[in-house]
Amino acid sequence: MQGKIADFSIPEIFQLVTSQQKSGALTIRGDERETIFLFSDGMIVDVQPDRQKAPSTLIGNMLVDAGYLTAEELRRILSIQEKENRKIGEILVERGKISREKLAQYLYLQVKDSLYFSLRIKEGDYRFEVFAVRPPTWMATPMRGDILLMEGMQFLDEYAWIREKFPPERFKIARKLGVKIDPMALPPQEREVWGAVYSSSDPYLVFRKACLTWHEGLKALWGLWDRGLVEISPVDSETQDTGRAVREDIARRFSIGCVRAAIWSLAAIVAGFWVYRILLSPPASHLLAGWAEFYR
């Protein structure tokens, strides 16, 4: 089964596959990326995000952003993966880098992230290939496509409204100083975000640490902000514009270059005078021309 998204929308495709409890791979192409969802009896059991265009949704990078792995560890794990041709999650669990439960949470997050993104695609195409898919071992409770779909639709509806609450540009978050609160009194997602705020001021990294999608994280953050627990402020344009820092560095280096040129020009004049004095001045040339006196 294949066709254009404009003719048959993503929610409709998901509904069809889920309701008919199909097994196979649904490939969605749009917005210059390709995402593959694997279904087993109508349940979403795995996702393969676009490696080139959406590297941040790869499980390894998600765990690095969440602080469970360093970049170097990820490189080593990927090289092992390449040699042994195994799933990255299996290797991480096997090596004790992450628990099976935590891995399941992040795989779940990966599926949700990919699905939420796919739901926003308006133009593109899809293809569903039917074949038997066995649920992976990590999946304790399979993800029901219809429930994810409903959450996704809700994300689409609410996103614009929630985003308006925050500064339009990039922003940063921080715990408000002097605030004391029992985290257990907060709703679960807000509690996760409250706990993760200490790790970074970048909301994206905080949400990754809290194992929440962008939409879920914003919603929880709005709750914390509304309670007066966190402060939100726009990121300085100086730090936001990385090119500006380089341009300033170029200007600074130019001014240093001018200073250097002036200093060394002066030094060259002094050294030139010194060389003249030791080898060409009248006393020096008289010394070196002492031979002429023998002919006079």
């Binding site: 560095d249 240093i256 040339s285 070196l288 002492g290 006196e293």
Partner: protein, 636 residues
């Protein structure tokens, strides 16, 4: 009562003395002038020499030739070999009267009476080259080399010129090397020195700090050798193998400068304190001053003139002045003191002839000939002696050999056919003996090194005893610092783009940054990062270009062509040395000044051309190296 009548004779006596004195002066004007111009020679020689000077002029060659022939005869009769003042006086006249360019024919005639004047021969060589007269060039070159070989001041002057030239060339090489190597190390030093000194505001203060370090010894007033060593030690950690070799050569040359300066100092001492007028030049001009008597008998110490040579000169002076009895006494004193040389015997023979003791003279001539059978002067005098004693049989036997030998005495252009009227050939100061004696004073080279002017200019504030130790310490420090620098963190500057990287184990393999080694050209990133790399490369290129203009050829070091750079620097330093040794010899208004003005002009020209070539080559070779790294002049 007696009335005293004043005597008119007594009253008029002062006026009478004044009158006779004026009459005396008016009666001998030529003699008085000749006294000033040719002091010390016999009166007839002085008078004739003055006539020669007056006879010289454009188109007056025939008149001059007659006067020259007359002077030659008078000179030979007193054993005078050369009157070097004549060409100088003629030159000054020509310069004053504006016919200096027509001096060639006059000098060709005057060379017969001033054969020991090297400037005259050099002038004729110059004229030959200018007029492309190759038939005259080689005889004139032979005359020049003969004058340098046989005339004490000329030979010593030539030796001093060689030492001065080598010293100047070595100095220029050391200056070039030390500055060029410092400039090579400058980018790295600008980061390492503030890092070590923990300077604030490093970006702006680091160029200033390094420039201050560069100029510090200059303002401290250190000698040039000390300054050069300081620069080289500072830069040694960042140099390549070829550059380290340049540095080692420079240190060795400083050692050479140390001994060269000592040689110059010793040479002035050997010459008797006044090279132009001292005892050494007695065969060209009678000395007005003599080495102090304290030097007598202490010839082996402190570079003073050997006393027996001074005595030889005194005897030659008396001989040329016509005091033959006095001269003979000095010759005899020399022989009795162990200096029984053929020259002494030959000259004593001439004095004996002039006193009418022909047989005694002949025995001296024969003794001189026996001591050195190749001695042309003694053989000629033996021949003349036989002629004078009418022993024609013997004279006829040795005539061919005597004529042949005397004709070959360079630079004297003796013409035996014109010398049949009792002309005697004297022996000049034995310059070879002087050189042997000087060479035997090898120890003085080190002992006297600190006394010379060169030492004071080049090695202050070091004391003479520690100068060589200092140079050894510099070399050792360089080696130790070089090896130590392999174990510590230092900055290396990429030769291609100037990117500076803090690394440990600096080596030639780290000469290029990774970007240049991968030949990625301007850079692999887009946007501002790329602009920053372009800016870095351009600044580096500009600094190398500026350095190559100020220190020509230094661009060759950046492009890794140390061998070619060294060859170029040698050529440049030779031409600069020619400038250094010639500019100081100008401006005295004599023949040599005129010749040296020409040499200085050419040396300046050659230096200028070499400078431009070096700057262009340095820039070009560096540009080519950047092209191989794909850092072309174009963006992209």
């Amino acid at each position: 009562m007696m009335i005293e009548v004043p005597s008119g004779r007594v009253r008029s006596s002062p006026a009478m003395i004044l009158f006779f004195f004026l009459v005396f002066l008016l009666g001998f004007p030529v003699r008085s002038g000749a006294d000033d111009l040719f002091p010390g020679y016999a009166s007839e020689v002085r008078a004739q020499a003055l006539r020669v000077v007056e006879a010289a002029g454009p188109g007056k060659e025939e008149e001059l030739a007659i006067e020259v022939r007359g002077l030659r005869k008078k000179m030979y009769s007193h054993g005078i070999l050369s009157v070097n003042a004549i060409p100088e006086l003629v030159f000054r006249r020509a310069d004053r009267e504006g016919w200096k360019n027509g001096l060639g024919p006059a000098f060709r005639l005057i060379a017969e009476i001033s054969p020991l004047s090297a400037p005259v021969w050099a002038w004729m060589v110059m004229e030959d080259i200018r007029g492309l007269r190759f038939s005259d060039l080689f005889p004139d070159l032979a005359g020049l080399s003969g004058a340098i070989w046989r005339f004490g001041p000329a030979r010593l002057g030539y030796a001093v010129w060689l030492v001065s030239f080598a010293l100047a060339a070595a100095s220029w090489f050391v200056v070039w090397t030390s500055i060029a190597l410092f400039l090579r190390a400058r980018p790295s030093l600008e980061l390492d020195i503030p890092r070590v000194l923990r300077l604030p505001y490093r970006n702006y203060l680091s160029p200033l700090a390094v420039a201050v370090l560069f100029l510090l010894p200059l303002f401290a007033g250190f000698g040039f050798a000390v300054v050069a060593c300081y620069w080289m030690v500072l830069s040694v950690a960042y140099l390549r193998r070829g550059e380290l070799m340049l540095m080692s050569i420079a240190i060795l040359l400083i050692v050479g400068i140390f001994f060269g300066g000592s040689m110059l100092h010793l040479a002035s001492g050997v010459a008797g304190g006044a090279p132009g007028e001292g005892y050494l030049g007695v065969d060209g001009s009678i000395p007005r001053t003599w080495p102090s008597e304290s030097g007598k008998g202490q010839a082996q110490g402190s570079g003073a003139a050997p006393s027996w040579l001074v005595l030889f000169s005194r005897a030659r002076t008396k001989m040329q002045a016509g005091d033959h009895a006095g001269a003979e006494r000095l010759w005899t004193e020399l022989i009795e003191s162990g200096q029984d040389l053929p020259e002494v015997r030959n000259n004593r023979g001439i004095n004996r002839v002039k006193q009418g003791r022909m047989r005694a003279a002949l025995s001296d001539f024969e003794a001189a000939f026996v001591k050195r059978p190749g001695e042309g002067a003694a053989l000629w005098n033996v021949y003349q002696g036989y002629l004078q004693m009418f022993n024609l049989e013997r004279a006829r036997m040795i005539q061919p050999l005597a004529w042949d030998r005397v004709q070959k005495l360079s630079p004297f252009r003796f013409r035996p056919s014109d010398m049949e009227a009792g002309e005697w050939v004297g022996s000049p100061l034995p310059v070879d003996e002087l050189f042997w004696e000087t060479l035997q004073r090898g120890n003085d080279l080190y002992r006297e090194a600190g006394e010379g002017e060169v030492y004071r200019m080049f090695f202050r504030p070091l004391s003479p005893g520690v100068a060589l130790l200092f140079l050894f310490a510099v070399w050792l420090t360089s080696v130790i610092w070089r090896f130590f620098s392999l174990r510590v963190w230092v900055h290396t500057a990429c030769r291609g783009c100037g990117t500076r990287t803090l690394i440990v184990g600096i080596r030639e393999s780290t000469d290029f940054c990774n970007m240049c080694r991968m030949q990625v050209g301007w850079g692999i990133q887009e946007g501002e990062e790329k602009e920053r790399r372009i800016q870095g490369i351009r600044m580096h290129r500009n600094s190398v270009r500026a350095g190559s203009v100020v220190v020509p050829g230094s661009g060759g070091l950046w492009s890794g062509k140390e061998g070619w750079t060294m060859l170029y620097v040698v050529l440049l330093c030779l031409s600069l040395a020619a400038v250094s040794v010639s500019i100081g010899a100008r401006g005295k208004g004599d023949i040599l000044s005129d010749l040296e003005s020409i040499v200085a002009r050419w040396a300046f020209l050659v230096t200028g051309v070499l400078w431009i070539i070096g700057a262009a080559w340095g820039i070009r070779s560096f540009g080519r190296m950047q092209q191989t790294l794909k850092i072309s002049g174009k963006r992209g």
